[in-house]
Symmetry: C2
């Protein structure tokens, strides 16, 4: 027995796969929009434990998902490192961009924990507020992805500043990645101590790099981060989500990361029959319904959910999720049908 998500991450046989959705607490929910309005600023929502707890719980109440993911943002870490971070309505996040190597030394000295105390308090509250069967997931951004925001001053199309530094001076760039590995490890360590039972590391821009860049800026820092977490918390499962990378890079990551992480999030472009055959015997896999498929007529949604369950749900080590975050206009009835479909699935192989 035990919580479904934890069992799936150990690749134990379960009666049906656990489910949660990336960005499940979000703008498609009217109750989220209500709390968001109360909070005013987006970062204020992240840093106010009562409100962050409330929005984390909302999708659990509504859909009975098997896991709740801490409501926060990957950019609270650079914020805690002393960088300026703000969100403008209708636009992506903005940061006062980092001005290269000298600044790294400065960031090193930051004590992130006092800044992040409200995040830890949110986890502490969630620990008691959640239903007994629901797993609490903490998270952070991967070193490469967080570095791109720090260097570009926000989202980017071509990652010019980050890549130029990486190509011109890979060793110098490593210093920033090393710093982010260390600070992210401290952050996740504190999240686990505060109540996170699983942590997910989001590498949203992992797919933007050349093969050289992937090895150096994605794979190595991700595994270094996992190593640090496992050293302190050998029993806390880690899920990696390197979005947009190629199947052979996923295989390589799984091979090099044996024992270092427990689950692999797969984006919408991945072939789940392949993942079921090649990856799932080694590691738990999570994904990958296209969030936009949730806009289809409700019976098509059910059909697509069933197809995924039939592909991966009969063997141990599958976690139902989307391949990317749920989007703001998603019809709630379709999410309800998704949840019902997963809940009524019977893993037939055992």
């Amino acid at each position: 027995m035990g919580k479904l998500l934890l069992r799936a991450l150990k690749r134990e046989a379960v009666a049906r796969p656990p489910m949660w959705l990336m960005r499940q607490a979000g703008r498609y929910l009217p109750e989220y929009l209500e709390t968001r309005k109360q909070a005013g600023d987006f970062l204020n929502l992240c840093y106010t434990p009562a409100l962050a707890t409330e929005v984390t719980l909302q999708p659990i109440r509504r859909f009975g998902f098997d896991a709740a993911i801490l409501f926060s943002d990957i950019l609270v870490l650079p914020h805690a490192l002393g960088m300026k971070v703000w969100f403008e309505a209708g636009e992506g996040p903005k940061l006062g961009a980092l001005d290269k190597p000298a600044a790294v030394t400065m960031l090193e000295k930051a004590d992130i924990h006092s800044h992040l105390a409200p995040v830890y308090e949110t986890l502490d509250r969630l620990k008691t507020a959640l239903p007994a069967e629901t797993t609490l997931i903490g998270f952070c951004g991967a070193p490469w992805t967080v570095a791109t925001y720090m260097l570009e001053g926000g989202g980017s199309k071509d990652f010019k500043t980050a890549k130029t530094w990486l190509y011109a001076d890979p060793k110098g760039f490593d210093a920033l990645l090393d710093l982010l590995v260390q600070k992210s490890a401290d952050y996740l360590d504190a999240q686990i101590r505060a109540g996170a039972e699983v942590v997910q590391i989001f590498d949203s821009w992992a797919g933007a790099l050349s093969p050289f860049g992937f090895e150096r800026a994605v794979l190595e820092p991700l595994l270094a981060l996992c190593r640090k977490i496992k050293a302190k918390h050998p029993d806390a499962p880690i899920i990696l989500f390197p979005r947009g990378v190629h199947p052979h890079q996923l295989e390589h990551l799984v091979e090099k990361g044996t024992g270092l992480f427990d689950g692999l999030g797969l984006d919408t472009t991945q072939d789940m029959a392949w993942a079921n055959r090649i990856l799932q015997p080694q590691i738990a896999i999570q994904g990958n319904l296209d969030p936009i498929a949730l806009y289809a007529p409700i019976d098509k949604v059910e059909k697509k959910v069933r197809h995924l369950l039939d592909t991966c749900g009969h063997e141990p080590g599958y976690i139902f999720n989307l391949g990317h975050g749920i989007t703001p206009q998603t019809p709630i009835a379709n999410v309800e049908r998704l949840a019902e479909t997963v809940r009524s699935f019977k893993a037939g192989a055992y």
Copy 2:
């Protein structure tokens, strides 16, 4: 003998690989900015043969690239189909978005050729203006990529409108793709008759889809388009550039497309040692230096160019290019060094 690019596309042994760069006529060149200013509006530059010819020739004069690509935009086709298309400074292109199936029938009736006559005239002028050794490349956008712009009304992060239609009503969506296959074939046919010796089909958003979407909206329409062109112009080489797709999808495309296309453009994320081993024995490959690598110190640029040449340039069927379009602040001296490095390379294997 014969033109280097044409020989490489036939996978003949050549003394060194041919080279050209995606978006080689562009904002990193002061002479381009000058002509652009003269033209005023971006579409005016595309539709004024004297100016479009001039900017197409500029990078050939400066760097002696082995191919000139028609200066135009993939959105002149939806424009010719009767859609509203405009470019706002500092933003991406905008279109008066297509309102689903009914509109498709309307677009069907459009006679694209009178609208596109200036494009054909540009090719006609280039045919005589280009040095004898330089190949003239025509192009269009792939059906899927053009469809996304038509449906989203511009660029998109999640392709919500296009994908929703594809998921909800794949057969209905096929009607739009079929229309685009037909009109793109007509357009490329006219380009070839006007002087294009090679055509490249840009599928910039091919990597945004689920495996189902890739088969249906990328692979099938691309091959249908190739079939139509080859039926009329069996000797005109076709290069496909499905950006952001997975290696196994490229293999699948090459396998299903035997005899239907001649070259495959590879984006920056692809492993060229793999491509050299697996794809190059079957088809000419083109790519894939990261455009951002051109911002590195000049000796690092040379090193990266040499590395690519050493990986793929010793066997027939390699075309040097970037993995994506060159970007506006690229240092010209680095492009010069790139061109010198490719020009002085000696394919050692034969």
